[in-house]
């Protein structure tokens, strides 16, 4: 492998890694706050990117507001999911399988809706800085990708502060760890749960608008993102947003370097195999923290 190729792989891996990390972060947020694994996370991203696309290309809205709309759309979807999918399942004494099937159904619904509306074509969303790229030695990275990394890092830190130092954030954590205790001290547990899903949705929407300019928006992109984000989340211990980000970056780098040695068509196969290996060999994450028992 030449140095250039190596470097290019690193840059690509970093970029992808932060995307996976964002999705994984969303999964970690929802799991931390509701003890539910959201199989729809990648489709929050899909929706966010689709909304941003429609708003910017069909309605002519400038980039930044369009992006924000996409993020908000993710949040709204999160709210809808909590109300329409999670609560009814909970009311009917849902088993772990029920939540899985319901969120999977939601994922397929979003994907199918996009299929219906957009067809099987891919669409391109304009990114920050257009097509401009920055040179790093012999390799190049798109300006948008740099922004992606920066924004993701800021968001992770913001989230850490939110959970650690704001009353709402701590209430959300408390509500998931100890329902009865939280109720006793006056925390509105159902509301906290809704907020968890909204936050997860916002994270998903953000991931969508950030990744869309780099890959093409396509009705099937959600599921794959979810799986990769899930791998990132597990690596990070499943309940840690920061851990998910680290996991995502690691995953992105490994995927990228592996692909550089093999044909790019196998990219997803490699990541899926990594996901399965992670689940079997280190379900507790890299540091073996107390997360959910995977086996």
């Amino acid at each position: 492998m030449t140095m250039t190729l190596f470097l290019q792989s690193i840059l690509a891996g970093l970029t992808n890694g932060f995307v996976y990390g964002l999705i994984g972060l969303g999964i970690a947020v929802v799991f931390r706050g509701a003890r539910i694994i959201n199989a729809m996370q990648g489709d929050f991203a899909l929706l966010g990117s689709v909304v941003a696309y429609v708003v910017s290309t069909r309605l002519g809205v400038p980039m930044l507001p369009a992006f924000l709309t996409g993020v908000l759309a993710g949040g709204v979807l999160g709210l809808l999911v909590e109300r329409l999918l999670i609560r009814p399942t909970e009311k009917r004494a849902g088993t772990e399988d029920s939540y899985l099937l319901v969120t999977l159904g939601g994922a397929f619904a979003v994907s199918a809706a996009v299929l219906l509306y957009f067809g099987r074509d891919s669409y391109v969303l304009n990114g920050i800085g257009g097509d401009a790229s920055v040179d790093v030695l012999d390799a190049a990275i798109r300006v948008h990708a740099v922004w992606l990394i920066v924004i993701s890092s800021v968001v992770v830190l913001a989230l850490k502060l939110f959970y650690g130092h704001t009353r709402v954030g701590q209430a959300m954590l408390a509500a998931s760890i100890d329902v009865d205790g939280s109720l006793t001290i006056g925390i509105n547990v159902p509301l906290m749960r809704t907020l968890t899903f909204v936050t997860g949705g916002l994270m998903g929407g953000l991931a969508g608008v950030l990744v869309a300019p780099l890959i093409n928006i396509h009705y099937e992109m959600g599921l794959l993102l979810t799986l990769k984000g899930f791998a990132a989340a597990i690596l990070g211990g499943l309940i840690s947003p920061v851990g998910a980000m680290f996991g995502g970056v690691l995953l992105g780098l490994v995927e990228s370097l592996a692909v550089a040695s093999v044909s790019s068509g196998y990219k997803d196969v490699i990541t899926m195999v990594i996901l399965i290996l992670i689940m079997i060999l280190m379900p507790q994450g890299l540091l073996g923290r107390r997360g959910r028992q995977g086996g």
Binding site: L85, L101, A112, F230, S263, V273, I276, M279, P283
Partner: protein, 333 residues
């Protein structure tokens, strides 16, 4: 008094079955070609769906990987027929052996996972399978696919029309369903459901959980492969599009809608899932969305599926008087 009720119930059941059999045998003569075509697909998907339903309902395992085995069966038949020139049963067996081997190899590590992890691992397998089908185009023909698969010709009689295939595949489906009912009335069948309900307690009674899971996964894969082989012979042309993740979702939907705990419910689920796109084909690709909504609806509102509703009716006629002569009411699982 009690035995008369028993006899009456058995009579009702017999009449019902006879009615069903009559309808079944007469449908192709009355219905149009496209309806029979749809029924054939329903039967094929029911066979594959049976594997998924069994895993889900009797063992509590959500498998989204059935499309892989369906594809392996189809491609084995396609490759065996067009490239190797093998007789149909040989290619079919090849598909089954490959599917079984992969299911066993993958199953041993993966089935140790539980719940979400296991389900998502099977989804990852579905993706892997789909990509490999695409990438290994020297084997599968990729998006161009493999065509010219000859129809099945047992003893020289060519099964090359929907009607003929209908009469061919329906008894096969029936036999497979009966076989699975056999399984329920055996120690293995009880062990599976025990494993589903309380794995620790099952282990204490001597059930080797890990091995049993693999065995059931392998049989599910074999069903999928078998269905895929038949599928290839029916459509005579296979390509990657038929074996993607959406196919896996379809099979799961069949299991969930049909009601995984009742085996016969799978048939109802398959009929529904196959018939619906036909009715909606005019509106475009809307059936995918509808399926997703149905999956959600089924999980929330109809956890026992259609089959569960049927099972309730069935149990009504299956009531047995207890020792005191009173009829004990069985409740649906």
């Amino acid at each position: 008094m009690a035995s008369l009720t028993g006899m009456r119930n058995r009579l009702v059941v017999a009449v019902f079955v006879a009615l069903l059999a009559t309808v079944w045998s007469v449908v192709p003569l009355l219905a149009g070609r496209s309806t029979v075509d749809m029924l054939v697909f329903a039967a094929l998907y029911a066979i594959a769906g049976l594997g998924v339903a069994f895993l889900l309902g009797q063992c509590g395992i959500v498998s989204l990987a059935q499309n892989v085995f369906f594809g392996i069966g189809a491609y084995s038949t396609a490759y065996g027929a067009t490239v190797l020139g093998w007789p149909a049963p040989a290619s079919m067996i090849m598909g089954i052996v490959i599917s079984g081997a992969i299911a066993a190899a993958v199953g041993v590590p993966v089935l140790r996972l539980s719940g979400y992890f296991l389900a998502l691992a099977t989804l990852a397998l579905a993706v892997i399978g789909h990509v490999l089908f695409l990438e290994w185009d020297w084997l599968t023909g990729g998006t161009l696919g493999i065509g010219g698969i000859p129809p099945l010709s047992p003893l020289g009689y060519r099964i090359n029309t929907p009607v003929r295939f209908y009469y061919f595949v329906s008894p096969i489906l029936l036999v497979l369903i009966l076989i699975h009912y056999n399984l329920l009335r055996s120690r293995t069948g009880i062990a599976m459901r025990a494993m589903r309900d309380a794995p620790s307690a099952a282990a204490v009674l001597g059930v080797n959980i890990a091995r049993l899971k693999v065995k059931v996964f392998v049989s599910s894969a074999i069903l999928g492969s078998f269905a895929g082989s038949l599928f290839a012979h029916y459509v005579s042309f296979v390509s990657v599009d038929s074996f993607g993740v959406d196919r896996a979702i379809n099979f799961l939907l069949i299991a969930v809608l049909g009601g995984a705990r009742t085996i016969a419910g799978t048939v109802l689920g398959a009929l529904f899932v196959t018939a619906l796109p036909n009715f909606l084909s005019r509106i475009g690709d809307v059936h995918a969305l509808l399926f997703a909504i149905l999956l959600i609806g089924a999980v929330i509102f109809l956890p026992q599926g259609f089959g569960g509703a049927v099972a309730q009716v069935w149990r009504h006629f299956g009531r047995r008087p207890d020792h005191a002569g009173r009829v004990t009411k069985g409740s649906p699982p």
